[in-house]
Amino acid sequence: MRNSFILNRADFNALFTALHTRGYTIIGPAINNGAIVYEELQSVDDLPAGWTDQQDAGTYTLKKRQDNALFGYNVGPQSFKQFLFPPKQRVWTARRTTDGAVIEPEPAETTKLALLGARACDIAAIATQDVVFLKGAYTERIYQTKRSELCVIAVNCGQAGGACFCASTGSGPEVIQGYDLCLTELLDAPQHQFYITTGTDLGEQLLADLPMHPAAARHAKLAAEIVAHTADSMQRSINPAAAANLSNLAEHPQWEDIALRCLTCSNCTMVCPTCFCVSFEDHTDLAGAQTERIRLWDSCFTTSHSHTAGGSVRVSGKSRYRQWLTHKFASWQDQFGVSGCVGCGRCITWCPAKIDVTAEIAAITGSAAENAAQSEAK
């Protein structure tokens, strides 16, 4: 954090103007088909003012709030992953020539995206994908380009969602890094305002365009209290150290128990903000003269995911669930030095079988008692 200011709710659209003036496409929360999703926004009027989301395992419902909070919900089914790492992406095109073939890589777009309303978990997820795509021996060129001109307008969560467990994964609810501006919504201070801190030069420049007011010490205190209350009221948690031991528990009987409930539908991997598995499809014209390679999100819950000439490696539902959970919480750390989970809870909310990863991890690692002891100690 560099500086802090107050922006009145009545002036909020000035942020849209400031971003649009700088050529940003604004991606943020909007109500669509009964859920709060991330899509392109034109003005403050597109935000889900006065709405919240009630979440539990296998449950997601929009409800009216008593107030007109702009960010009074938690996280919807989508993360920002779809904008930096699209579900369907052409990688290259090729055409036959008289003496062979020519392949041309897909030109990478340099769209300036402003992510408005990014929560701590979403920002942590981008940082995690940065490690996967940009820090290894081979980098993901298209992600790198889309990532390069990102503006992040973060929001501290004013309440814990029904599936959230970011406090236990160390990725929220307070936004610590990875933002240009960070907002905390103050609903009655006494009027509807936003406490805004700057994280970068770009954030400072944006604020210069806004009708800002100086922040008082009580604003900072109030903002800190709000996010602390969010952390304290979070109902679910994991023990990350215990979860990291999942690799050594591949034969635990609980995997069989989960397999009786898991539909292997892949919803959890589709809503996960860090899952990066993809498959490739070649689309060729009938004449065999033109072709293109398309990259598609894939899931370790499909049998084709592990297909080799000798058949699929992971045939049973048990082995596929085990791969997902173990990779996310344990082997991801071996591979990338960080956990693959940011505690957003989407996999819990959007599981049609109401499977709760926090409960399953506790059952497998035997850390249920430890978790209970931890929350009592609080």
């Binding site: 290259w92 073939a101 890589p105 591949a250 000439a309």
Partner: protein, 277 residues
């Protein structure tokens, strides 16, 4: 390296020769199209090969790592893309990404006995190592090649065996199912380990074949006293990108494409015991 703008985009090569090795199995010689840099690789590495309009698959490089004028892959026609690859003709284009992955570390065997064990098409990724060992024969004590095949007519590269023997390799062969002309051993390749005449405490083994054959061969080697970290194996999993970004080839903490395909057996030993990992 032949990597183009990024690791995902193939570089176009041209097929120069294609010939049948054994039933359903062909070797493909390719050359870079103009303006491509020199191609070099280490024994045991693989390329992602792309047939225009028919898809892309990982294929280990089976040619000579020292003579780099030709790049050879040996392909078994078992699926849509591999079949399309075996139907290519000289002059046709083929896309290449690679080389990728870890390699057979010949240096580990300096001054020691070498045991190379191949099952079926598993001889293909081992052949570059054989060529390297023949070229650098003096660096090693004994070099023994054990080969297992389903039948005598499925012995890959059998036309080269005499040359290899004359170059200082001991070769022992077994088949699962003999025919009337076969007077050699019958049975699994693991049976040959015990009579290989190696000094187990001073041996480095390089093993490639079906996963079950790898596990039993490694166990047999260890039974005679070869250490688990002196046995190198090459594993296979589904691979779509070759660079650790598609997620398909995971085996526990490893991406087979970039942490492998060649592993020390000590690294993978426990992972291979877990069913459906």
């Amino acid at each position: 390296m032949t990597l183009g703008l990024d690791s995902m985009t193939p570089v176009m090569f041209e097929v120069t020769r294609i010939w049948r090795e054994i039933p359903q199995t062909y070797s493909l010689e390719i050359m870079p199209q103009q303006n491509a840099g020199a191609f070099s690789f280490y024994p045991g590495q693989f390329n992602m090969l792309y047939v225009f309009g028919s898809g892309e698959i990982p294929i280990s490089i089976s040619g000579n790592p020292v003579n780099r004028n030709t790049i050879i892959h040996t392909i078994r026609s078992v699926g849509y893309t591999s079949r399309a690859m075996t139907l290519l003709r000289p002059g046709e284009p083929i896309g290449v990404r690679g080389p990728f992955g870890t390699f057979w570390p010949a240096n580990e065997a300096e001054g020691k006995d070498v045991l190379i064990v191949a099952g079926g098409i598993g001889l293909a990724p081992l052949r570059p190592l054989i060529y390297q060992m023949i070229t650098e024969r003096d660096r090693f004590h004994s070099v023994t090649l054990l080969i297992g095949a389903r039948a005598p007519d499925e012995l890959l590269y059998s036309g080269e065996f005499d040359i290899w023997r004359k170059s200082g390799l001991a070769i022992d062969i077994t088949v699962d199912k003999a025919n009337e002309q076969w007077h050699g051993s019958v049975g699994v390749v693991t049976k040959l380990v015990g009579r290989a005449g190696i000094d187990p405490a001073n041996t480095v083994a390089y093993v490639c074949g079906p996963e079950i054959m790898i596990r039993f061969t490694a166990a047999e080697c260890m039974k005679y006293g070869v250490a688990a970290d002196q046995i190198f194996i090459s594993l296979e999993r589904s691979m779509e990108c070759g660079v650790g970004l598609c997620g398909h080839c995971q085996l526990g903490p490893y991406f087979i494409c970039k942490d492998g395909p060649v592993f020390r057996y000590a690294q993978a030993q426990n992972l291979l015991k877990i069913r459906e990992l």
